[in-house]
Symmetry: C2
Subunit: 167 residues, 2 copies
Amino acid sequence: MNLQEGREKFIQTWGTLGSNWGINRTMAQIHALLLISPEALSAEDIMEQLKISRGNTNMNVRALMDWGLVFKELKAGERREFFYAEKDMWKVAMQVVKERRKRELEPLFGTMTDLKKVKDASAEGQQFESTIANLDSVIAKADKTLDLLVKADESWFMNNFLKLMMK
Amino acid sequence: MNLQEGREKFIQTWGTLGSNWGINRTMAQIHALLLISPEALSAEDIMEQLKISRGNTNMNVRALMDWGLVFKELKAGERREFFYAEKDMWKVAMQVVKERRKRELEPLFGTMTDLKKVKDASAEGQQFESTIANLDSVIAKADKTLDLLVKADESWFMNNFLKLMMK
DNA sequence: TTTTTCTTTCAAAAAGTATTGAAAGTTTTA
DNA sequence: TAAAACTTTCAATACTTTTTGAAAGAAAAA
């Protein structure tokens, strides 16, 4: 497998992986392309390399910036914008965890609070209450663990401790 | 919010959550319904409660069984099949982790092995090699961590240790 | 064996999601 | 100010995924 084939395979694999996890395939492909590009790319570059339209490129590059995975670079004497990706994959993983926690876990807390208020003496009510209480405790645990993981990334000690644990 | 409203809200929330994570919405809704049902339900029950077709019900119940989240129950003197869900949400989470690891991480290893073979002296080649090597190490770390987590579930000591850590 | 009851399959239709490309918007340059 | 160079928007279109329902299959009952 030569470089060109490798690049294509990586872009396609990352795209498939993304769509398995509820992330737009093109968004993941642009991310992959930027991850393996040594220099920041313009919208035009991305359009050409992935053979996608201008609109599609623009939308997905912005989404990637929203996720905190891609940044703009302003080149002196250049009018157009260039984009580059965070390339430290541990940081990428932490950023994704952080964002999904914010976007999905946080709204869930509100819903769980509402659902925990339901009271009903029937068998169905009992099962409902018990499932909700149990789920709530698992969600709370997951949240604490993810928080610990993300914070570890910002603390030298925990960072090393975790890396040791995962050896 | 009364029981009926709570049940509907839970089913809808679980469905949305599932589809955010690349899981068929209906599959997640059937799972939610079974999670809050004290008794095992027949295909007919599921069809009625979620207002979906027989084919859809059958396909998604089977998918849930494939995931190891739902089981068949044979009732004495009853011809049709009944279905119930594992209700311990910690076990549910572990089962999902286990399955996704098997379905997605394992095939990834093969691809990474191929991609690691690419050698190219150009700047693009250098960035490609470095991104792939870094990604490979993060994936390997994640895999070890998930393995630890799943195994912990089966070990009394690690189970208690982890629960303590996540306090 | 035939009928009944239930499960499974799958092609067609519907619903949902992503993509295009042209037009409008914005910023810089002349 | 006007033109040029680029970015953003969005309605129409294309594509993907899900759902339906009728038919076929299977197992139990008559």
